[in-house]
């Protein structure tokens, strides 16, 4: 399997008035054309890991790594211009809530075309056609109609499909999905995941799926990294989730209420200071 992305000892820290906050503290992994899940609670550094790869970390933050390489490009040394050309065309990102991540004053079709024409030289008519095809690929029934709608006129599930269409139209090799379905209804969640799953498989992309829902991630990804306090505490294949060794991983699994399981009170996560050390 060819390696798409190598991350070695990634650190992201934010200087604040009250001292330095280390959001990510030495994360290492490699990614091929596979589905990798990154799971953790709020503040575990999972989103910042994704953002650092994408190059969306705020300017005042400090990023260091022994290696942060996408294909043969050293992302740490890449110029802002080079990062910009990578973003969208080679590495794309799906955000949590389509309500906030789509441009509210631009029609859906125009937004998708904008992404495409930023990265490829295509004529207007062809761009429109490709945007329509993409909308169809994410199972929007009536692409012609949706093309002219504005984001507030579509439901959350449809908005997220539009987001996926927009992110995939330039044909990225690596897709980072940051809580792509957390804002959606359970039934819609599965539809969106199925679409994402199909497209990722068809196009042979690498996927980083960031979420706090361990069960969902494990049912979707090949491999899972579990993060706590900026560090990876456990890495394991999704199939072996039941055999998780780290107490934190077990805790994340156990704290979910299950239908038919009579557990009162629910087991809660114990957070041990030595895990963060």
């Amino acid at each position: 399997m060819t390696t798409l992305l190598t991350v070695e000892n990634l650190q992201v820290s934010f200087p604040t008035r009250t001292g330095v906050v280390n959001a990510v503290r030495g994360v290492s992994f490699t990614l091929g054309r596979e589905r990798l899940g990154i799971v953790g609670e709020s503040g575990s550094g999972k989103s910042q890991t994704g953002r650092a790869i994408m190059g969306l970390t705020p300017g005042h933050a400090r990023i260091t790594a022994d290696k942060l390489q996408f294909r043969d490009i050293d992302l740490l040394k890449a110029s802002a211009r080079q990062r910009r050309s990578l973003r969208g065309s080679d590495i794309a990102m799906i955000l949590q809530d389509p309500k906030y991540s789509l441009n509210p004053v631009m029609s859906i079709g125009r937004q998708i075309v904008e992404t495409l024409r930023t990265h490829e030289r295509v004529g207007k008519a062809e761009a429109r056609q490709r945007a329509l095809d993409m909308l169809e690929a994410v199972q929007i029934n009536d692409p012609e109609r949706v093309y002219d709608l504005y984001p507030h006129e579509v439901s959350g599930g449809m908005g997220q499909r539009v987001m996926i269409a927009m992110m995939l139209i330039a044909g990225p090799e690596l897709l980072i999905a940051d809580e792509p379905t957390s804002a959606l209804d359970v039934t819609v969640q599965l539809e969106v995941l199925a679409i994402l799953d199909k497209l990722v498989a068809e196009r042979g992309m690498g996927l980083i799926f960031v979420s706090h829902d361990l069960r969902l991630v494990s049912s979707f990804c090949d491999r899972v990294l579990v993060m706590y306090a900026g560090k990876v505490v456990e890495e394991l294949p999704s199939a072996d989730l039941a055999k998780a060794k780290h107490l934190y991983t077990q805790g994340l699994l156990n704290c979910l209420p299950k239908i038919g399981a009579d557990r009162h009170p629910l087991p809660v996560l114990e957070r041990k200071p030595e895990w963060a050390a």
Partner: protein, 248 residues
Amino acid sequence: MTSALSIKDMLVSFDDYVALRNVSLEVVKGESFGIVGESGSGKSTLLRAVAGLATFQQGRLAVNGRDYSGRRRDKEFYRTVQMVFQDPYGSLHPRQTVDRLLLEPLAIHGIADTEARIVRALDEVGLGPSFRFHYSHQLSGGQRQRIAIARALIVEPQILLLDEPTSALDASIQAEILNLLEQARRDRNLTFVMVSHDLGVISHMCERLAVMRNGEVVEGLSSADLANRKVSEDYTKRLLVASEGFVR
């Protein structure tokens, strides 16, 4: 078995849009009743109509036998019924300290010994007295939801309306909040009406539940039925499948 909350043929419409179509529910005193459904199914509207945040055009509402159909809700109502909202970031006043937030309901209801009650309320939701003079932006999502629960419990209500109380929280924090709610219910003999889109949460917290879709109750069942997969409606089956996670 006395009825805590009785809803008959409730109809709520916003202009031409009918959000609730003739919904009837009966919640027995001391029980925990769940309502599941997806966005737009009317589950939150139902709670809001009970709490008086939305007006219902038709139907009857009775709380502890007192009729509130077409009548202003009095203080007595709000001493009996309190509500906890979904988004702890949006439901606490950003410029009031926790102390002030908890004082407000006490002042409204003219309850004395505020000092002791505020300390006790914080203690009950597992937050120390040190949180008293914090602002809500200084707290995490889970801590805010604890404050929201403390605010609801401080007037010693009998019925708690819970509108997706944990869906904005991490799974690990959700477990803590659910345990806290169960503890409060045991200690105070509360009646819960809980709305959620998560069947797992509802079956954990509630003995009986109603499944809503497009403003109507499509199925009523017990958590035991749910555990044994004794469901008749296709829609409920779909929700059940969805709750089991993604299957390739």
